[in-house]
């Protein structure tokens, strides 16, 4: 048998290239290209009165300067609203270059193309724009008050208002023995891939063809959007995602203004043009996520069983809604986690503000939903004096109850129906790993030493691998080389490796003979993109199906040549051989030769496929009626619904009694993404996710001032964790296969970051003895909470005082 490839922690095929400087990221391409730079709005909300580029045009090396009025036809129309939704009644998108008005700092107004970036930026600095400043809406409270408007024609700043309800929440709430209300707050963060966005376009004037490269999570999406914008036949546009230096969601949005403008300029000028985003541009003109205010009202019985869950969310969608309302839809559905809510109602308002737009960032609304649900679970436990893990366990959906249909519509417009999962087993593993039952002793010990420690927990369920589809194409060359292509893109997930593992396993070939291409519309024109932890599930399944087709074809051809039945054959390390008689065999390369009947021999091996070689049945055509020439195959995978992964995290934190410094002493993860293709890569994904979660829990926030200026738009001021801030992660796995796809896999990409804010809040609350309702939390925030707690403004947990009051800290009544 071929060595087991699927499921093995195989080293990545990408790495020898990437560690030796052989990666080719966007700005590594096109050394002969002109450079684009942009003048971006310094104001959060203003009318553009005048643009004077007269001084800029004088700069030596400037090739072109463009404003909105220069953009012809569809190039000058608003950018597409990618995901319409019936409740998104007031969707708005920006223009490639601002038309008359700007709605956030960083919105592009002028594009300069010059011989190099230095010159282009010189010219940008000489462009004078006169503005009429308009009132600015920053922050969710300002947005929902509706006093000032972001868009004149959007009343109350409400882009969308959506309500989903299952069961009679009001009745269940009214009859519930206990109710609690929590007001919660999560701030903005952002994906912050180490490589910003970038676009590079070449126009082949002779052939009328555009080739573009984009640092994107969807090359097929960019291609279609750019062809439509530039009014080019799709057949004349190709888009390639080169090596991409991280994405985490922000690069799924398309077309970004630059993805339209750079190809447009390349065609107009007949010269290659490139733009590579700098870090400040990424902060102020890409996208952020997370910001929400939440109000949770929960009804439960004496044992802590949920009876009614009533959630209201106010979601900050920034200045525009190109990606629809996917983020709040995910929050409102994935909030439920592994629990049965009894009855459930979730209502959200997606609100405009004069800030950078908000689109999915790893987790995509789930960290907020998990925060709401898990804070609620802790509050119930505290109210009833129960163990926090026990309350969770009492509300779990059990394995015997799978598949579990929540009766809600998920982000893909399909039912929120969990396919599998073993939540009690996950919890048992987590408790063992973190030493849940021994923590009380540990705390006593720590307290005796004058240390304050707390234990936190968070559970989540993540819908992964949403449709509509992905495809896989496999072709075996006469050399035995196996070319695999799938259309979605890679940003560090190791697709070259995991897809090769699938092919090696399914086909019976060696890993080193398999070569995977992703994100190249020349190789696979039908694809959706890399988001929603979907690549392994979608492309992995499609590639497995394609491999099975190719295997069947190889066996048919070899059986014919070897004069045996296909059932008697096996493929081992690239050789087709008779089971039990391995001497009767031929290589897949030879099968490939035979698969393509030739008139002309191009080398020795090819002679075997020419018309005078060997014997053939004169009554049959050289290519059988149902066959195609070539040893290749293709298939697509399109599931009826998402597959649901899950996980549970626990952390032990220590808070400094004096400085309020927060230190994570231990961080434990139980992760279930179904069958694992490569556990080393899954673990890497978990590590990275947790690190981003730690950033979101303790350090990262977008500091907007009242005028809509982002005060910390640099790595100096936006605190992304270094190695010194990220704890060692202790991870263990459970593999509950998905019944939905041929490999039993579930997505793993986003998982790590989802529960981290919930877990850290839970642990800090446990250490401090008063509720934590707002994340991220800095030492200063905690110090301030301690002061307010000491002053009696914040109640203690019942655990410490056994007094009766609600964990709510809100003094203000939110209005919609």
């Amino acid at each position: 048998m071929t060595t087991q490839m699927f499921g093995a922690p195989i080293r990545r095929k990408e790495d020898p290239r990437l560690v030796t400087g052989g990666g080719r990221y966007l700005d590594d391409l096109g050394h002969d290209a002109l450079a684009a730079a942009f003048v971006r709005s310094p104001h959060a909300h203003a009318r553009i009165v005048d643009i004077d580029a007269s001084e800029a045009i004088e700069v030596e090396g400037v090739v072109g300067i463009y404003v909105h009025e220069d953009l012809p036809g569809r190039v000058g129309e608003p950018l597409p609203l990618l995901i319409p939704h019936p409740t998104l009644t007031h969707g708005r998108t920006g223009y490639a270059l601002a038309k008359d008005e700007v709605n956030h700092v960083g919105e592009p107004i002028v594009m300069v193309v010059a011989t190099d970036r230095y010159v282009a930026e010189d010219a940008c600095q000489r462009i004078r724009i006169t503005y009429d400043q308009l009132p600015v809406v920053v922050g969710i409270e300002a947005a929902r008050s509706g006093e000032l408007l972001v868009h004149d024609d959007v009343p109350d700043n409400v882009a969308a208002h959506m309500l989903q309800e299952v069961g009679d929440v009001d009745a269940a709430m009214a009859s519930a023995p206990h109710t609690l209300t929590l007001d919660l707050d999560i701030e903005r963060s952002a994906c912050m891939p180490m490589e910003g966005k970038g676009v590079y376009a070449r126009w082949d004037r002779d052939r009328g063809e555009l080739r573009m490269y984009s640092s994107t999570q969807t090359s097929t999406g960019v291609r279609a959007a750019v062809a439509a914008k530039l009014d080019l036949p799709l057949a004349k546009v190709e888009c390639i995602a080169p090596d991409v230096g991280g994405g985490f969601g922000v690069k799924i949005v398309h077309p970004w203004p630059e993805e339209v403008l750079v190809p447009w300029a390349a065609i107009l000028l007949g010269r290659p043009v490139k733009w590579a985003e700098d870090r400040r541009e990424h902060f102020i003109s890409a996208a952020h996520e997370r910001g929400q205010l939440q109000r949770v009202t929960v009804g439960f019985d004496d044992e802590g069983h949920l009876l009614a869950l009533d959630v209201k969310l106010w979601h900050d969608n920034g200045a525009y809604t190109p990606y629809g309302i996917i983020v709040p839809i995910i929050t409102s559905t994935q909030l439920l986690g592994p629990y049965k809510p009894g009855t459930y109602r979730c209502e959200f308002w997606s609100l405009y503000t004069n800030t950078v737009l908000v689109t999915p960032y790893r987790g995509a609304g789930r960290p907020q939903g998990c925060f709401a649900m898990e804070r609620t679970m802790d509050a119930i436990a505290d109210e009833l004096g129960l163990d926090r893990a026990e309350v969770r366990s009492r509300n779990f959906i059990l394995p015997s109850e799978m598949p579990w249909d929540h009766g809600l519509l998920f982000q893909d417009g399909r039912p929120l129906k969990y396919d599998s999962g073993d939540f009690p087993a996950s919890l048992a593993k987590l408790k063992d790993l973190v030493g849940w039952d021994d923590f009380a002793d540990y705390r006593r010990q720590a307290e005796a030493e004058g240390r304050k420690v707390g234990l936190g927990i968070g559970c989540y369920v993540e819908g992964t691998g949403v449709g509509p589809y992905e495809g896989g194409h496999i072709q075996i060359e006469t050399s035995g080389r196996v070319n695999v292509s799938t259309g979605l893109t890679s940003q560090g997930q190791g697709h070259e490796t995991v897809f090769a593992q699938i092919v090696a396993q399914e086909l019976g070939v060696r890993m080193e003979d398999v070569f995977v291409t992703t994100g190249d519309t020349r190789k696979m024109a039908y694809a959706v993109g890399t988001f929603a932890s979907r690549a392994a599930v979608m492309s992995g399944s499609a590639i497995a199906l394609a491999a099975r087709n190719v295997r069947a074809k190889a066996l048919r051809i070899a059986a014919d040549a070897l004069e045996v039945s296909p059932e008697d054959l096996e493929i081992v390390e690239g050789t087709v051989r008779v089971k039990g008689a391995p001497a009767t065999s031929m290589s897949l390369g030879t099968v490939s030769v035979l698969s393509n009947p030739l008139r002309y021999a191009f080398d020795e091996a090819a002679k075997a496929a020419t018309q005078f070689a060997g014997t053939f049945d004169p009554d049959k055509p050289p290519v059988a009626d149902d066959e195609e020439p070539g040893l290749e195959g293709k298939d697509f995978y399109s599931p009826t619904q998402a597959t649901f992964a899950n996980g549970m995290h626990a952390a032990i934190v220590e808070t400094d009694p004096v400085t309020a410094e927060i230190k994570i002493l231990r961080y434990c993860v139980i992760h279930d993404c179904g069958t694992m293709i490569n556990p080393m890569i899954v673990e890497g994904q978990v590590h990275g996710g947790v690190a981003q979660g730690v950033g979101g829990a303790l350090y990262e926030r977008m500091a907007y001032d009242e005028s809509g200026q982002l005060l910390n738009a640099s790595f100096m001021d936006f605190l992304m964790p270094y190695a010194s801030e990220v704890p060692t992660i202790e991870a263990d796995h459970l593999e509950t296969p998905s019944p939905l796809n041929p490999l039993g896999i579930k997505g793993a990409g986003e998982a790590g970051c989802i529960p981290v804010s919930a877990v850290i809040a839970s642990a800090i609350e446990d250490a401090e003895g008063f509720p934590i309702t707002r994340m991220p939390i800095s030492p200063y925030d905690l110090w301030e909470l301690r002061r307010r707690h000491a002053d009696g403004e914040i109640p203690s947990l019942h655990r410490t005082s056994r007094t009766t009051s609600t964990p709510s800290t809100s003094s203000k009544e939110p209005t919609a």
Binding site: L18, G22, S714
Partner: protein, 180 residues
Amino acid sequence: MTDTTPATETLHDVTVSVNGVRHSAAVPARRLLSDFVRHDLELTGTHVGCEHGVCGACTVLVDGQPMRSCLMFAVTAQDHAITTVEGLCSAPDARTVPTGESMNPVQQAFAECHGLQCGFCTPGFLTTVTAYLEENSSPTSEQAREAISGNLCRCTGYQNIVKSVLRAAEIKAERAEEHA
């Protein structure tokens, strides 16, 4: 170079040794070393993540010391010896791997320990760690973490990078022994 530089800008002659090769060029005073290496010499293994010296992706070795090439001008590299990630491949203790690349112990360790995902920040880590192991050839786990604490990575959570540093020290010692 000259045809992409505005005529009004004064050019300065500079001679820099990069990965053991002397390069002479005429560059504007403001040309960053990172841009010089990437766009003029077309050694694109060095990456630029922030252009303000915080992320460390652009770290190169200047006379063996890790420096942020986005905070240096090409003209200030005059007469200095620069080593980029491409140059690590020809270090005396680099070895050719089955896929054909030549890797120094740190490069080898990152590939073995899944010390990278998207690979964009990686060249900065590789140069930093290569220099660090010259100072401390057998770091503890804590020291390894400290050594990489000036570089940002958004993918890995650093755990496998720490592991890579420790493994690199082992490989380096093994290769030193082979040599001896």
